[in-house]
């Protein structure tokens, strides 16, 4: 067994790497609980799991300050957690409980949290692109140094409003980064059937600084995001980060039989060869940032935390009937 010490760069960032690893675990265990809640018919409606894509949310959000903004998608739990939300209040929201982030009114697809700069998940594909761009507009006008990150799936490339706001962002030189998670499918259709031309070119055509990255490698995501965030923050304008990734589960928790649109083999390859958590763990161990045992313990702690969060959410009450008409107007 080799016993080389970790390199200085690794030591310097050890805390960061471990935090990122922890966040990725948090997302995975959170989503496992969601899946279980659904399977046990304890969750109202549906949910879209982020499992497999953890490195994207974590890699990007770790480059942000708490006061920076994000907008998210229907597949939003990962972004939300990575930006710092509490699992217990998230589960409460998923169950429609009053203690939830949105008092139960939003549910899985609308979690929002001003405390962590989360402007909200969005159930309209690309529905938050305008909002994220507008948050960057405010940041620039109010000169508060914030940046705004707009998470979108590659399906959102079909929505014209994306091109409208990228054009606006570049014209106004706004500090916004569009992070496109290409997980190969939008619902049950492969992206190549719906996406002509070249994805990055669609951003550079509007003048954006664009880059592509392996979305299963959290360090790579982090490094690329850092460059775009730094550029945006110093006023150099908007960026676009294409993250190539994969969702392990169905489009939503109820999408079980998937063979008609993608093979089990394909799923298996991604899971075994390109798992962002397993590969990151391997690297952390190789680099002596942590031992197997330490990582196992961390994993157990995070899993327990998620179970407790679910228990909290299950026990907490629904909103009372009179709340239905509250919050329509500010």
């Amino acid at each position: 067994m080799t016993s080389l010490a970790p390199t200085p760069q690794v030591i310097e960032k050890a805390e960061l790497w471990l935090r990122m690893y922890r966040q990725m675990l948090a997302i995975r265990f959170f989503e496992n609980q969601v899946n279980e809640l659904y399977t046990r018919a304890l969750m109202p409606g549906l949910a879209h799991l982020y499992i497999g894509e953890e490195a994207v949310a974590v890699g990007v959000c770790e480059t942000l300050e708490r006061t920076d903004y994000i907008t998210s998608t229907h597949r939003g739990h990962g972004h939300c957690l990575a930006k710092g939300a509490s699992p217990d209040l998230m589960f409460a929201e998923l169950l429609g409980k009053k203690a939830g982030y949105c008092k139960g009114k939003g549910g899985s697809m609308h979690i929002a949290d001003p405390a962590t700069g989360n402007l909200g998940a969005n159930a309209i594909v690309c529905g938050s692109a305008g909002i994220a761009t507008g948050a960057a507009f405010s940041a620039k006008r109010l000169a508060n140094g914030r940046v705004s990150v707009c998470f979108i799936g590659e399906g959102a490339l079909g929505q014209g409003v994306l091109y409208e706001v990228m054009n606006l962002a570049e014209l106004f030189k706004l500090p916004v980064i569009y992070v496109c998670e290409n997980n190969l499918y939008s619902e049950y259709t492969h992206f190549s059937e719906t996406t002509a031309g070249d994805i990055l070119a669609r951003a550079t055509a509007f003048g954006l600084h664009a880059a592509s990255v392996d979305g299963q490698n959290v360090r790579a995501v982090y490094e690329h995001a850092q460059i775009l965030v730094e550029r945006a923050r110093r006023g150099a304008g908007p960026g676009f980060l294409l993250c190539n990734t994969y969702r392990y589960h169905g489009h939503h928790v109820g999408d079980i039989n998937r063979e008609y649109y993608r093979s089990r083999r394909e799923e298996q390859t991604w899971k075994t060869e390109r798992d962002p958590i397993a590969n990151f763990a391997k690297w952390l161990i190789e680099q002596k940032v942590a031992t197997v045992k330490e990582l196992d313990e961390l994993s157990a702690r995070v899993e327990t935390e998620m179970k407790k969060a679910v228990e909290f959410a299950m026990a907490t009450p629904y909103p009372s009937p009179d709340e239905v008409a509250e919050d329509v107007y500010a």
Partner: protein, 334 residues
């Protein structure tokens, strides 16, 4: 499509099957009919309504699109003007927000603006209805917007039989037609004859005859009204349930005559109550049955709130058998 083999006149099929049959029959009949939408091909839509159509008609006639509601609706307008009869599938009615320019400024107006030279024979199929725990952006019933626009026709079927007959008529119609399906109704079963038939637009259907009160109900609210009518019967109130079936053209006369006969009316629609369908129908009845009404026309639609996710809250936002029963009982002075 196994249901095709059942040919007796007592045949019962689901609402989803009725839609699929209508589409398949019209596609067989007319090679210019094609379907465009997100996940309509292999997946047959998330609601599986179109399952099997790809296999029968192939990729040239059942086309998966990018998530570009405005784009493919616009494409359909142009295709309709030039010899095709496209059917666009807008997965959730909430997404019609993205198609308003194509539908309202283009499709609805091209016949008139061109002095009758061009026409746009297309159908938009989309959904309405809450109580699926889908929250505010996947639960709206926004059909009132299209009803407001001259040049469009608007259909809201409430049974498998109506769905099939009206959809076939819509596809053969030379105008842009919007067809709203209640998401919660896809599994509802009902009698649908195996033989070919169509139903005319602009003809209301009396779903249940009664003497004491008229319940005008659309789409999802028809079953609610029938349930309430059954409850009312138990306390000796005879409710008539009238389903306009198409909101434009609208069979004003049948609605008004029913209200004149019963002297009382409640109008039920799952769209927002304010500035919506219930307002139009209530004001028509209030005027048309002015001298016969014993009580003001009552309107019951969705509560004026974005649809909440939380189940106990969501359930409060739409009329139910119980709330309709109570309103009717009160109106009848019991």
């Amino acid at each position: 499509m196994p249901e095709m083999s059942v040919t007796t006149d007592q045949r019962e099929i689901t609402f989803a099957q009725a839609i699929r049959e209508a589409l398949a029959e019209e596609m067989r009949r007319d090679p210019t009919v094609c379907i465009l939408g997100e996940d309509v091909a292999e997946a047959g839509t998330p609601f599986k309504v179109l399952a099997g159509l790809l296999e029968e008609f192939g990729k040239d006639r059942v086309l998966d699109t990018p998530i570009s509601e405005a784009g493919f609706t616009g494409l359909a307008v142009g295709a309709a003007m030039t010899g095709m009869r496209p059917i666009v599938d807008i997965m959730f009615g909430d997404f019609i927000t993205l198609t308003m320019d194509q539908m309202v400024n283009q499709a609805a107006k091209v016949h008139y603006m061109s002095g009758g030279h061009w026409k746009a024979p297309m159908v938009m199929r989309t959904t309405l209805g809450a109580t699926r725990r889908s929250a505010a952006q996947h639960s709206q019933s926004l059909h009132a917007w299209f009803c407001h626009v001259p040049g469009l026709k608007v259909i809201l079927p409430s049974t498998p039989y109506d769905a099939k007959g009206l959809l076939k008529t819509a596809i053969r119609d030379d105008n842009p037609v919007v067809f709203f399906e209640d998401k919660m109704m896809y599994k509802l079963k009902g009698h649908v004859p195996a033989a070919d038939y169509t139903l005319p637009l602009g003809v209301a259907d009396v779903k249940r005859e009664g003497e004491d009160i008229t319940l005008v109900a659309t789409s999802s609210m028809v079953q609610v009204a029938l349930g309430a009518a059954a409850m009312l019967e138990e306390i000796g109130i005879s409710a008539e349930v009238v389903d306009p079936r198409t909101l434009w053209p609208l069979d004003e006369n049948t609605l008004i005559q029913s209200a004149r006969k019963t002297s009382r009316a409640i109008v039920l629609d799952e769209g927002y109550e304010r500035y919506g369908v219930t307002a139009e129908i209530a004001s028509l009845i209030a005027a048309g049955a002015f001298y016969d009404l014993d009580a003001p026309v009552k309107r019951m639609g969705a509560m004026h709130v974005p649809i909440p996710f939380s189940p106990p809250l969501e359930d409060m936002t739409v009329p139910t058998e119980q709330t309709v029963f109570e309103a009717a009982r009160k109106m009848c002075g019991r």
